[in-house]
């Protein structure tokens, strides 16, 4: 970890994983109560490079490999947080939440409320999400709506290196539990197909992106595409293509589900009158419905056309490449939805 060295140019570019690690390292430097716990986060550096170099820099007392016991070590993080530490605990895949969900939603998320605000749980739960590399239906889900549905935890999802750093810094400093979900497809890993924007300029030094502030990544006037994570990049690809046809698409990166920046959604749709929601999580009872309801609860007459939702259908994620790509919310499906909403 030398990314904070002053000799580097102000426009240095990092991949998302390095940006995320930089935030963790800076906060560990700043606050000795920050520790990182999880499976293969030490020597290995995190299966998706979420902790590369941290062990060498901070030692095994602060970057701690755990047994494969998610209930025990996530619960350990909770207890440590209630006693004044700021643990970051990694659940290797969001798909594994089932083996430890009780600690997450019945304990991590509820203790502050149950205590009437007397006990804080300043903890970050990090987890890898997303498919697109044939890892099958137990290692490819996003599931952020499940975390967001259960009250008491913030849920943030970066789409690019700068936000990965800024959201992580804010998450670590937050006195509430934050679930930080990083998509494997945006990490910029050498062994996985990567988005061209997975390596980008990252501010040096302290950089905070607050939770609950959506980002207009591309302004437009004809249609609003509300999305997050890897889908931001697919939506940008589509917007750039349609630009040549005179279609002006505004792309809103939510950055967080909890808190949800409803104002930004309303403002953008108020301007464009058309809404496409792109979500790599499941269709039913999830984010896409929540975003659509944000509009209809306020004023359905804002919409000039029915809302289009591009999401994972309600099926387990299939393994075969063609099957998986048929159901992922990728460029072709997003483009078709934009054309439908404009028709």
């Amino acid at each position: 970890m030398t990314t904070t060295a002053p000799t580097q140019p102000a426009t240095r570019r990092l991949n998302t994983s390095k940006a995320m690690v930089e935030a963790i390292a800076q906060e560990m430097e700043r606050d000795e109560t920050v520790v990182y716990l999880g499976e293969d986060v030490g020597e290995y550096g995190g299966i998706f490079s979420s902790t590369t170099g941290l062990l060498e820099r901070f030692g095994k007392d602060r970057v701690i490999d755990t047994p494969i016991s998610e209930t025990a070590f996530i619960g350990l993080g909770i207890g440590a947080a209630t006693e004044g530490m700021r643990p970051i605990v990694e659940l290797m895949f969001a798909d594994f939440m089932g083996v430890c969900l009780d600690q997450i939603y019945n304990h991590m998320a509820k203790i502050h409320y149950f205590s009437g605000g007397n006990v804080k749980v300043p903890m970050v739960l990090t987890t890898a999400v997303g498919g697109g590399y044939s890892d099958g239906g137990q290692h490819s889900q996003c599931l952020w709506a499940t975390f967001a549905h259960l009250p008491g935890m913030k849920v943030v999802v970066p789409s690019n290196p700068a936000d990965a750093k800024g959201l992580m810094t804010s998450a670590i400093r937050d006195d509430s539990p934050v679930v930080y979900m990083f998509h494997k497809g945006i990490m910029g890993l050498p062994w996985m197909a990567k988005n061209r924007r997975a390596i980008d300029v990252v501010p040096e030094g302290e950089h905070l992106v607050p939770s609950g502030k959506a980002n207009v990544v591309r302004p437009g006037t004809d249609v609003t595409v509300v999305t997050l994570s890897l889908s931001v990049h697919h939506a940008l690809d589509v917007a750039e293509r349609l630009d040549g046809e005179g279609v002006s698409a505004e792309i809103l990166d939510l950055r967080s589900l909890v808190p949800l920046d409803r104002e930004a959604i309303l403002e953008s749709v108020g301007k464009t009158g058309r809404l496409v929601v792109v979500d790599e999580d499941y269709l039913s009872f999830g984010l896409s419905g929540e975003v659509a309801a944000t509009i209809t609860d306020k004023d359905p007459s804002m919409l000039k056309a029915p809302v289009q939702r591009v999401t994972m259908p309600d099926i387990p994620i299939p393994y075969a490449h063609d099957l998986e790509y048929a159901v992922l919310p990728r460029q072709e499906r997003i483009e078709a939805a934009v054309r439908r909403v404009l028709a």
């Binding site: 025990a72 619960g75 909770i78 209630t82 004044g84 019945n106 205590s115 009437g116 605000g117 300043p122």
Partner: protein, 351 residues
Amino acid sequence: MSTDVSRPAPVPAPTDAGSPAPELPDDVRARLYETMVLSRTFEEAILREYHADKGPGFDIGKGLVPGEMHLSAGQEPVAAGVCAHLTTDDAVTATHRPHHFAVAHGVDLKKMTAEIFGRETGLGRGRGGHMHLFDPETHFSCSGIIAEGYPPALGMAFAFKRRGTGGIAVAVTGEGAANQGAFHESLNLAALWKLPVVFVVEDNEWGISVPRTASTSVPSNAVRAAAYGIPGERVEHNDVDAVYAAAERAVGRARAGEGPSLIEVATLRMWGHFEGDAQGYRADLESVSALDPIPLYETRLREAGVLDDAAVARTKEQATEKVEAAVAFAKDSPVPDVADVMKHVFAEEDR
């Protein structure tokens, strides 16, 4: 292949009590008795208030104390014996049947009672209720989910060890919880990292209506400690002196940096799983009152000359005074303002 894997030290065989109760100093025994009496007096008052206005018939959601109520009468020896070795710098994570441990650990009786009554002055401003008591002053918490209080105890111990506070964590479950994954994961991790934890299993023989013999493959959960290379000890006969002695060993080990231990105590659930439980599944109910550990201990202490009529009367009077003051405080306290119901989900909403 590494060859320098260090071998864990041999584990002492689980001691299966029956071992004669140790002779404890008189003042220690008098204190254990006081703690048990205070706990029972408290629960009798809660029982009275709980049932005072549930009628006609029985409506669980009605009254000054609404909701499910799990009382711990009969299990006082476990809490009294263990908590006698703790200070309020040590943590306790208790179960859905938490009152005896809260009382024995020194949780403020008024704030706890107010929480059970759902008042703004309660430990959690009426957001938690009797299964979700959180007291940062004494590092006390509990959980309504079986065995899930174990993992946070590891974290409390971890934080104490890091910060060098000298504190330890005591994690409590019932015997039914010892079949949950969280129990086994926690024993393994605490043993692996030598965390200063004492695991306590209250074997009251009943997981709601299912007897231990129908739920658990071993006669004693103490033997399960061997699977994790830590000492396991079973205390028979709901004997507070024996619990005290076992806890002294376990707490001493934890404080000395030698890691966790497990104590299982054969105890007694005198009342139902929850209030309103008719206990039709229990054939042993007639014998229960004769096994009440508090009069039994009182008799033992009288015979040993530790207590006399005056001391017993004084202990009971003091307990009643404290408890009734707590009940009056709860009743006089305001209910939470409904306008504030959305507050305290996140830290910045604390105001």
